[in-house]
Every structure is written in structure tokens, then in C-alpha cells.
């Protein structure tokens, strides 16, 4: 023992050998410390761990250098699942100067050789503190989840069992609470807090609970029936990237669900709307087509009626500055009276018999026409021949055109007309007329002249050419039909 004043050794009488300071109070304190250490050791042997810890802590208040008390306190803490506290006690103990080997060094070495133990101790302490925080905030479910994790890591954590029991009691699950309390008592046989809680639950333990295997102290599923599965719980302060990944997965699932569930239904709705709209549109288009068709028919009918009315009106009124039918009929009558049949025929050609309103006028028109047309045709044929013979083919052509118009298919006149075309260089038209004469007139002399003088061919060749032209025209007519 060293003197507290000068550091010299203290004699058996309690006085310092150096300064003479009386150290008897210190010696007395050391004796008291030894007493509490012995008491603590006795309680530890009886597995009254909390009682032993209290005695050893008191021993250290009398002599904080008492190595054995510190080492034993560390062991007690370790037994009660508080490895952090044990480690601190052993570290302090290891600093004490002793002659014999300090067991604390052995304990520390054992712990430090296994980093996983350190990690487990820290993790357990953090989760326990988090559980206390949750419990104080009233989030008992979250607190229970944390406690369950703590007890999985450290099954002999007495305070963990006590907190678990307290939470179960608050939740009204007394059976689970009792199980937790008995678990605590299995480690610390005379834990006053556990005994007090049991007393509150109407339980009186008959004897000290048996020491049980650490694995059996892990919480049973029955004790956690009101607790959500912890596998799905993650500490919000750790592994935030996992939360981010879960969020992305959730987002992806949401997107897939949208494509699989929402969009098809929307598409189906749009499709139904589209079909309904299409149906309505088709009906509308059909109605409009029907209306348009009706209107076109009406228009056609009205145009026909309009044409008829114009024709009827033209009897009374001239169009485009020309004479009306009545005017033409009057002038034709005047020329018929002269008689000038060519002029008369010209006026009669302007009149349509069916448009004349009365049978009297129609009869009058027909009588004049029957007389005038043959006479005018004959006159114009003669004048045409005179001009033809004088090589005035252009002038002759006009007369023959009129003459043929007033004649009733007079092929002699048509022959002269065709000859005029030939002379004026319109060979195609001339040839066509010659073919008509050959195929239709039946006049052999006329056919001969058409072949020889018109087509410049022998009769047979001319006939064959005319027949081939007629056959080709018939074939092309059928094709076009």
C-alpha cells in the first residue's frame, strides 16, 4: 500500500514510512472494498449476477485499483450480455500495475482476436439503444423488432429480456412477458427487476430458475406473435443503397403493372369508343351518300326538265341572237312561197318538229319539208357539180354537204362529196365515204366508180378493203362496248 500523500510505502501500523501521514482510513477503505468483493464473489457463485455486480461496483468505490473486483465485474457483465461494459472494466484492469499476471489481459486478447465479436457487441448495443428510443416514443412494434435482433445476437442479454418483457406487458401479452422474465432469471437468478415484474403478473417463482443453454434463451416465435417479421425490416440508418434499390424495384413493378393492367384496359376502352365512333361515322356517311345520290337524281331530273323548258322556250325566243323556231318557221314559209327551196330548207333545218307546240304547226312543217328538202338537195347537187367541174372543190364541198344533208342517204351525192374530200386532200374522210358507198349503196355502177376513181382500185380489191374496214370498225366497236 502506498501513501496517498507522498507515495511511499505505508507500514503495518497505517502510518507512511516516508512522511508519517496516517493512512489508516485508506486501509479501512481497502478492507471494506475487500469485503464487498467477497460478497460479490459469493453472490456470483449463487448466480445472483445483478447483486454481485452491485457489490463489486461498491467495492471499486472503496478501492478502484482492486484488480480482482474489476476482473470479476467484467465477467459478471459479460455473463449478463453486456460485453461492452466488461471490455471497459478489463481494459482499466489491464492498466493496473500488478506483480502476478492479470487475467484481464487474457480476456481482452480473447475478444480482440475475434473482430466478429466486436462487431456483434457494437451492433447489439446500437440496436438495444434504438429499441429503448422506439419504446420511449411509443413505437413498441419497432422496439420489439430491434429487441428480437438484439437477443438473436446476444441471447444472455438480461436487460434485453427485461425490456422485451416490459414491452410484452404493455402489449397485454403476459404469457410472453413471463417467458421473457424467466429467461432473464435463468441468467441472473435473483434479478430484482425480473422478480418485481413477475410479481406484477401474479407469479411467484418457487426456486431459482435453471441455467439454460444460450440458444434456448433466444426469443420464441410465440413471444413475437404481435410483432411483424423482422426479415423485412432494415435499419433506416444503414444500407441506404438497399432502400434505393427497393425503391427502383418498386418503381419497375409499378411501371410493369401499369403496362399490364392499366394500359390494356385504357386501350380496350379507347377501342370500344373508336368502334362506336366508326359505326356512327359509317352510318352518317351512308346517310349522306344516300342524300347525295338523291340530290344528284333530283339535279339530273331538274336539268332534264330545264333542257325541255329551254327547248320549249326556244320555240318562242331565240337563243344566242338566233331566230326562234316560230321566226324560222315564218321565214321558211316566206322562202317556200317565193319559192326559194335552198333558203327554205336552211330555215327548216333550224326547227325541231317535236318542239313545235301544236299539231297544225307540225303538219305545216312536215309538208314544207317533204317538198323543200328533195328540191333543195337537187339544186345544191347541181350547183355543186357546176363548181366541181370548174375545179372549185372547196365551194363544191359546201354544196354537196348541204345537198347530202337534205337528201335521204343519196349515195350519188355522197360519192361527189367524197370526191371533193379526195380533191381537197382529206383522203381519210373521202376513203370512209367510199367504203360506205361500196358496202351500203348496192349500186354496182356507183361501187365501180368508188373503187376505180375514188379508191384507185380494182372493184374486187375495193370491195375487200371496204369489207375489211367494216369488220375492223365492228370489232373495235365491240371492244369498246
Amino acid at each position: 500500500m502506498k501513501c496517498v500523500k507522498c507515495g511511499h510505502n505505508v507500514g503495518n501500523d497505517g502510518f507512511c514510512t516516508g512522511c508519517g501521514f496516517e493512512n489508516k482510513h485508506i486501509k479501512k477503505a481497502y478492507n471494506t472494498a475487500n469485503y464487498y468483493y467477497n460478497l460479490g464473489l459469493e453472490k456470483a457463485n449463487m448466480r445472483d449476477l445483478s447483486g454481485a455486480a452491485a457489490c463489486l461496483e461498491k467495492a471499486l468505490t472503496y478501492n478502484k485499483s482492486q484488480k480482482d473486483a474489476r476482473n470479476l465485474l467484467g465477467l459478471i457483465y459479460y455473463q449478463m450480455g453486456e460485453a461492452g461494459k466488461a471490455y471497459i472494466q478489463w481494459k482499466i484492469s489491464a492498466q493496473l500495475i500488478t506483480i502476478e499476471e492479470n487475467l484481464a489481459n487474457l480476456y481482452i486478447r480473447d475478444m480482440e482476436e475475434h473482430p466478429a465479436i466486436f462487431e456483434s457487441i457494437n451492433e447489439s448495443a446500437k440496436k438495444f439503444n434504438l429499441a429503448i428510443s422506439y419504446a420511449k416514443q411509443g413505437s413498441d412494434d419497432l422496439a420489439m423488432i430491434q429487441i428480437k435482433k438484439v437477443l438473436s445476437l446476444t441471447p444472455n442479454f438480461v436487460r434485453g429480456h427485461l425490456l422485451f418483457a416490459l414491452l410484452h406487458m404493455r402489449a397485454g401479452d403476459n404469457n410472453a412477458a413471463k417467458a421473457d422474465l424467466y429467461n432473464a432469471l435463468a441468467i441472473d437468478n435473483y434479478n430484482t427487476t425480473a422478480l418485481r415484474y413477475l410479481s406484477e403478473l401474479g407469479e411467484k417463482p418457487k426456486g431459482a430458475p435453471q441455467l439454460v443453454n444460450a440458444e434456448k434463451l433466444k426469443p420464441e416465435n410465440d413471444n413475437l406473435k404481435n410483432v411483424r417479421p423482422v426479415d423485412h425490416y432494415e435499419d433506416p440508418n444503414r444500407e441506404q443503397w438497399k432502400q434505393f434499390v427497393y425503391m427502383l424495384i418498386g418503381l419497375a413493378i409499378g411501371v410493369v403493372a401499369m403496362f399490364v393492367l392499366v394500359i390494356p384496359s385504357v386501350k380496350a376502352g379507347v377501342s370500344v369508343d373508336y368502334n362506336n365512333l366508326k359505326k356512327e361515322y359509317t352510318q352518317t356517311v351512308q346517310e349522306k351518300d344516300s342524300e347525295i345520290s338523291q340530290l344528284q337524281e333530283d339535279k339530273q331530273s331538274l336539268e332534264t326538265e330545264n333542257d325541255n323548258l329551254k327547248s320549249s322556250l326556244s320555240v318562242y325566243e331565240g337563243t344566242d341572237g338566233e331566230d326562234s323556231m316560230y321566226d324560222s318557221l315564218l321565214k321558211a314559209t316566206q322562202q317556200f312561197a317565193v319559192p326559194n327551196y335552198v333558203e327554205c330548207a336552211k330555215y327548216l333545218a333550224k326547227i325541231k318538229k317535236k318542239d313545235l307546240p301544236s299539231s297544225t304547226s307540225q303538219n305545216m312543217y312536215q309538208e314544207m319539208k317533204d317538198t323543200t328538202y328533195p328540191a333543195a338537195s337537187s339544186i345544191l347537187y347541181d350547183t355543186g357539180m357546176e363548181k366541181y367541174n370548174k375545179y372549185q372543190y372547196e365551194e363544191a364541198l359546201k354544196d354537196f354537204k348541204q345537198a347530202y344533208k337534205y337528201s335521204d342517204n343519196n349515195y350519188e351525192t355522197l360519192y361527189q362529196l367524197a370526191m371533193c374530200y379526195k380533191r381537197t386532200g382529206d383522203v381519210d374522210k373521202a376513203t370512209q365515204y367510199f367504203y360506205d358507198i361500196i358496202n351500203k349503196s348496192g349500186d354496182e355502177d356507183l361501187i365501180r366508180r368508188a373503187c376505180n376513181y375514188g379508191l384507185d382500185m380494182q372493184i374486187n380489191d375495193g370491195k375487200q378493203a371496204a369489207q375489211a374496214a367494216a369488220a375492223g370498225a365492228a370489232a373495235s366497236s365491240e371492244t369498246s362496248n
Binding site: 478501492n63 478502484k64 438495444f128 416490459l166
Partner: protein
């Protein structure tokens, strides 16, 4: 009847092993020797005055 709030207040935080050496010894308990040393020191200071 248990007062749960009061009981919860009795639960002190657990200690991990991430404790610095300084904190380790500063937070240690004071024993009788410490008290006597302080008393002697105080008495010596008063005597010196």
C-alpha cells in the same frame, strides 16, 4: 401497477466496445483514495496560504 414510462426511463443505454482510451478512464468511478487525495491537497493548499 407498473408505470411503464417510469420503468422505461430506468433502462440506460448499452455500451459498445468503441470507447476511446481517454473516455475509458475519465468515466471511471472515484474511490476513497481519490477523495482523501483531494482532501489532503485542499488542506495543503490552505496551509500554504
Amino acid at each position: 401497477m407498473i408505470d411503464f414510462t417510469l420503468e422505461l426511463k430506468k433502462f440506460k443505454p448499452a455500451v459498445g466496445v468503441e470507447v476511446g482510451a481517454e473516455d475509458l478512464f475519465d468515466n471511471d468511478v472515484k474511490d476513497i483514495t481519490d477523495l482523501v487525495e483531494e482532501m489532503v491537497k485542499t488542506m495543503q493548499e490552505e496551509k500554504d496560504r
